[in-house]
């Protein structure tokens, strides 16, 4: 197999059809009245906003903007609103700053300098808002994690990844960007640099130390059972970088699975209780 950018090309109309069918069926069969999603202004949530609206109409999609003081960015908010307007979503803005401050204040060991631990609180607080709306409005939470960050473990456990469905989790970031454009998300928003917004000036590619164009090809090679030497050779990327990506991918499996329990009894939750997710 040749690891060239063409391996990531998609039949975009077919992908759109499959994902919208998936969303529509899930919402209908679960008996939910619609969807709640977090709107950050980034490409993933913009894509999910578009797909959700195309699936069940914007009337039934609530986009929550959940800014906070430290990472507040007016451009992200206006980008989110541009997409919400274009796809007819309803939106609400909840400033989560006071909640965050209260949480920080009530943790005796809270360390302001530890931006990762602090940032994770932000992601988990946003999850609480999303699920409140979902519970209250009888909706499901639609997640916007993509395959690149999910494989890399580049997300907050029980935070931004928490959702009922994750329609783009099987698409790499560079594929999501193309899908976004195909769906009608303005090019400028489809290609803008990604940030988890856990702290100011945090950019995914800087933090991961690699461009998504390269990362996605490495991950694609790993997905297809290629060994790291071969990936390195083909992409002309230092093998140490490929190894680092591979190790991150493997080390993050605990974040992608739930409920690890010691095997004590006949059938165990999370291991050999193998049940369908739903009966419909």
């Amino acid at each position: 197999m040749r690891l060239t950018p063409s391996v990531l090309e998609l039949d975009l109309p077919e992908v759109e059809k499959r994902i919208t069918r998936f969303i529509k069926e899930y919402v209908e069969k679960s008996g939910a009245d619609g969807i709640v999603l977090g709107l950050s202004g980034g490409v993933d949530s913009n894509t999910i906003a578009a797909l959700s609206s195309l699936s069940i109409s914007g009337e039934r999609v609530m986009g929550l903007l959940l800014p906070e003081q430290e990472t507040y960015n007016q451009k992200d908010i206006s980008d989110a609103m541009t997409v919400a307007d274009k796809f007819g979503l309803k939106t609400q803005v909840c400033d989560i700053t006071p909640v965050l401050k209260s949480v920080y204040k009530t943790i005796p060991i809270f360390d302001h300098a530890d931006k990762l631990c602090k940032g994770n609180i932000k992601a988990r607080t946003r999850m609480i808002y999303l699920y409140y709306y979902a519970n209250k409005l009888n909706r499901i939470v639609c997640g916007s994690s993509d395959k690149s960050e999910t494989m890399m473990g580049y997300f907050t456990k029980w935070g931004d990844v928490a959702a009922d469905i994750s329609p783009i989790m099987d698409l790499y970031k560079t594929q999501v960007r193309k899908l976004a454009e195909h769906l009608g998300v303005p090019k400028e928003l489809a290609t803008k640099p990604s940030t988890p917004a856990l702290w100011p000036e945090q950019f995914a590619e800087t933090e991961l130390g690699i461009k998504y164009e390269t990362l996605d090809l490495i991950l694609y090679g790993l997905e297809r059972f290629m060994n790291q030497e071969e990936i390195s050779l083909q992409l002309k990327v230092d093998e140490a970088i490929v190894k680092k990506v591979k190790n991150k991918w493997l080390a993050a499996e605990h974040k992608r699975r739930v409920l690890l329990a010691p095997k004590l009894e006949f059938r165990t939750v999370g291991t050999d209780f193998r049940l369908p997710r739903s009966t419909w």
Binding site: R21, F22, F273, R274, L275, P276, R277, S278, T279
Partner: protein, 277 residues
Amino acid sequence: MKERITLALAQISSKREDKKDNLKKIEELTIKAKEQSADLVIFPELCLTGYVVRDQLYELAETIPGPSTKQIEAIARKTGMHIIFGMPELSEKTKATMFNTSVFVGPKGIIGKYHKMYLPTHSVFEEKRYFRPGYQTASFTTALGGIGLCICYDLFFPEVTRLTRLEGAKLIVCISASPSVRRSYFEILTAARALENTAYLAYVNLVGVEDGLQFWGGSRLVSPTGDIVAKAKYDEEDFVLCEVDFNEMRPAEAFIPTLRDLRPELFDELKKRSERL
């Protein structure tokens, strides 16, 4: 034996774990097929229960004959129809040994059944975890002609349809639960299996989404020369009538004499080699 028979390809989605609802759908579509003068109506693999039911299979599987096949027999008797459908079968001799089974019912009762021989257990599939594989191909001489059965992944193994054909099947019915990412494989394989055996091949696939797995439909009747006689829609429920004309067999076999040209000695070699893989 009739020279021409009409098939109804009943491409349905199943309601998981709801045999009552699925039996109702089978009954409605069998009546519809009868009204449209079909002789045989075909439903997808495991359509009685849905495909992604995992451990619930232990509760859902039934013996054959059993409550569900009795209902299907009653439907066949009432309508005078032949029906092929898929269900998880519980062995009569054990309490938790199951088969992925294609059941063939006629107006006079059960004609026969087939246990899936090749159980996919890779990627998203976990069939060997639950099912015992079958050990015999299935070809039946019926009022409608020689009809053979196979299921989904069996199509990847040409020996299954070859044996079925050599046992006398002129129409091979493959029921399936194939997810979208594998569509291109099945589009090739259905044509290849029909052509290489100069037999009709009716393929009926599930549709719907079960635990994120999307089944692509695209059910079809392929002629003995590999042409698509009729095709159902992709991704949505559909009901397609099509005709099998057994008169087409002679010109097909004469034009593509694969059966005349079979080389049995190669099968001995194949057996030896595959044992040493």
